[in-house]
């Protein structure tokens, strides 16, 4: 399987690129990259499902809001993301986008060794490139 995401050098924080054949796949992989900064995504059981629904005035804001959901679900519900399912992105008439998805994971952080904390998702150096495939680039504040 092709690489889902890769980390790039950034002095203070974490910068990554996530890849996909579609916008949906690249966004999902960006959520996994964000989660991987905090826990071992592969080790999280698929016990709990959470519906996620976000909007954005543009794709950048949509991505920012979507990734913020990973942090929010973790900090407020102790939810650890393992995978993203049923993701759908749609353009809204009159401008903007919405995204719906299901987060699958576990809400037992005590079972896992957490190794970092993402404070916020930023617009810094954010890029969304759509050609034959999609690459998104994000810097998160650690």
């Amino acid at each position: 399987m092709e690489k889902k995401y890769r980390f790039l050098n950034h002095t203070a924080d974490a910068k990554f690129q996530a890849f996909g054949r579609t916008l949906e796949e690249a966004f999902s992989n960006a959520a996994l990259a964000t989660a991987s900064l905090m826990w071992d995504v592969g080790a999280v059981a698929r016990m709990v499902k959470r519906r996620v629904c976000v909007e954005g005035r543009d794709l950048e804001q949509l991505l920012l809001h979507f990734l913020e959901e990973v942090i929010y679900a973790f900090e407020t519900q102790s939810f650890l993301l393992a995978s993203v399912e049923e993701i759908k992105i749609k353009a809204v008439k009159g401008g903007g986008f919405w995204l719906r998805a299901v987060f699958v994971g576990d809400n037992e952080p005590s079972k896992h060794r957490l190794h970092g904390e993402v404070k916020a998702v930023t617009y810094n150096e954010m890029k969304i490139e759509q050609a034959d495939s999609v690459t998104v680039q994000v810097v998160v504040d650690m």
Binding site: F7, T76, Y123
Partner: protein, 473 residues
């Protein structure tokens, strides 16, 4: 980019393009090299373009790239024509440092060092995903956001004397939680009284060198070998959410067209949104003061239990590193109120400022500069010159030079623990990976940073301290 050397440690980027004022960097030639490697100076230029900026866009010796403003960026804005920017404060609002002094010496704690650190690790909720105190109600949280550390003292965490020894008395009076989102409150509830991860830490330290004995004495630092405790943390998820929320609100109202950087978004200070952000930021500042107040209380509990007494554990001071404040400064010979943004910078008021505690007023405020994990930290004193040189600001720490990713590739947490142990430094952490990311080699040389501060005169050396025990979230 043109960089003019003005003197050994002062570099200027002259006004060009849309810059309303020049930018100035305080650094040694060595620090300048690392600053040049990222976007720091470009970001300082962007700040210089903002409406109402006064004098200069300042860059402190430990600066590195941030979002919108550089980390280590200081800028003051006219109250009527100027702006306020969440990117000029940072995501971790009132990330800051508290320093406690003790009557104990290195010898006193030598045999109980391990136990002390283990107990602190047990008492202070540390890392990520670990809840704080028993579940808070929303109304209590709002009280905390309004009252800050005063709430903590009223509820049995620490003393009124601690409040006197905290910037703003531990409470920013303009705080108003009514403009804080439900989401920010939700993030704040489980995390009150937690240290957090990343570069946040709690250290048991010893005084390694005293540069200025007279001022050290005033600050409660009596001799080399004296044990101190340093707490470095911020406003946690609540502060991060306030920053994100207001970046978005300002975007919705003012748009992002023409902004060189989306996080440079701002609002006029006197606009409804500018005022709402300021009041919300003040509330997040109060949350962070409360956090450090509670953690300091637990540290005292541990000293009482392990060492027999916590009587001598007095607070030297508590400083903010990420904040915007309304302060009086003299500009073109006239005293005026301005909104000073300090993003990764410490206030360094000199003698005479009414804002600093009475016992320190003849000398200047204590400036606490933490190093990276396991390296030296410094106690400095604010100066009068700093008012003219940097709107009374100096550095806030070491500043990263290596990415976390690169640090992970190069170091292993266990190996770092062993190396620290050889140096006589105990380490407790929830995550070896986190330890590797914070390896001191990933940071600038803090000794060099404070030397520049001292030589330029924006904060003068008082004492150098080194850790004997480190707790990392």
């Amino acid at each position: 980019m043109e960089i003019r050397q003005i003197s050994e440690f002062v570099w200027e980027i002259p006004k060009c393009g849309d810059m309303r004022v020049p930018a100035v960097l305080y650094a040694s030639a060595k620090l300048l090299e690392s600053v040049k490697r990222d976007m720091t100076l470009q970001q300082a230029r962007n700040v210089a373009c903002l409406p109402g900026i006064e004098r200069m866009s300042y860059v402190m010796p430990d600066a590195h790239q941030g979002y919108g403003f550089p980390i280590g960026g200081v800028a003051a804005f006219d109250m009527d024509r100027g702006i306020i920017s969440p990117g000029g404060v940072g995501y971790d609002i009132n990330c800051g440092v508290r320093l406690l002094r003790t009557d104990y010496t290195e010898k006193d704690v030598a045999a109980r060092r391990k136990e002390l650190l283990a107990e602190i690790f047990k008492e202070v909720p540390a890392g990520v995903g670990k809840g704080g105190i028993t579940k808070l109600s929303r109304s209590v949280l709002k009280e905390i956001l309004t009252k800050g550390a005063e709430w903590a003292v009223e509820n049995g965490y620490g003393t009124r004397e601690d409040l006197l020894m905290t910037e703003e008395g531990g409470r920013m009076k303009d705080a108003d939680p009514s403009h804080i989102s439900a989401r920010a409150l939700e993030r704040g509830i489980p995390q009150l009284g937690t240290l957090g991860a990343g570069n946040h830490f709690l250290e048991i330290q010893k005084v390694a060198h005293i540069y200025d004995e007279a001022i050290a004495k005033v600050f409660g630092i009596d001799a080399e070998g004296q044990i101190l405790v340093m707490i470095h943390c911020g406003s946690r998820g609540l502060g991060h959410q306030v920053a994100s929320d207001y970046i978005e609100k300002m975007e919705n109202v003012f748009g992002i067209k023409g902004l060189p950087d989306r996080e440079l978004i701002n609002a006029p200070i006197r606009s409804p949104l500018g005022e709402q952000y300021y009041k919300s930021m003040c509330a997040a500042v109060n949350y962070a003061f409360t956090n450090r107040q509670m953690i300091a209380h637990w540290v005292r509990d541990v000293f009482a239990k392990v060492m027999g007494s916590s009587k001598g554990l007095r607070q030297v001071y508590d400083v903010c590193h990420n904040v915007a404040k309304v302060e009086k400064h003299v500009i073109n010979g006239k005293e005026r109120e301005v909104c000073v943004h300090r993003k990764g910078a410490t206030r360094s008021f000199g003698p005479g400022r009414p804002e600093i505690p009475e016992v320190y007023r003849a000398y200047g405020q204590p400036v606490i500069i933490p190093g990276s994990m396991g390296t030296a930290s410094y106690l400095l004193v604010g100066t009068r010159e700093a008012e003219d040189l940097s709107f009374s600001s100096t550095a806030h720490g070491a500043g990263r030079v290596m990415s976390r990713h690169e640090a992970l590739r190069r170091f292993r947490g266990e190996q770092i623990r062993d190396e620290l142990e050889k140096k006589g430094i105990e380490l407790q952490s929830t995550s070896w990976k986190g330890v590797a990311e914070e390896a001191s080699a990933a940071y600038k040389d803090v000794d060099e940073v404070v030397r520049v501060s001292h030589e330029v005169g924006i904060g003068r050396l008082v004492a150098r301290v080194v850790p004997v025990g480190v707790m990392k979230g």
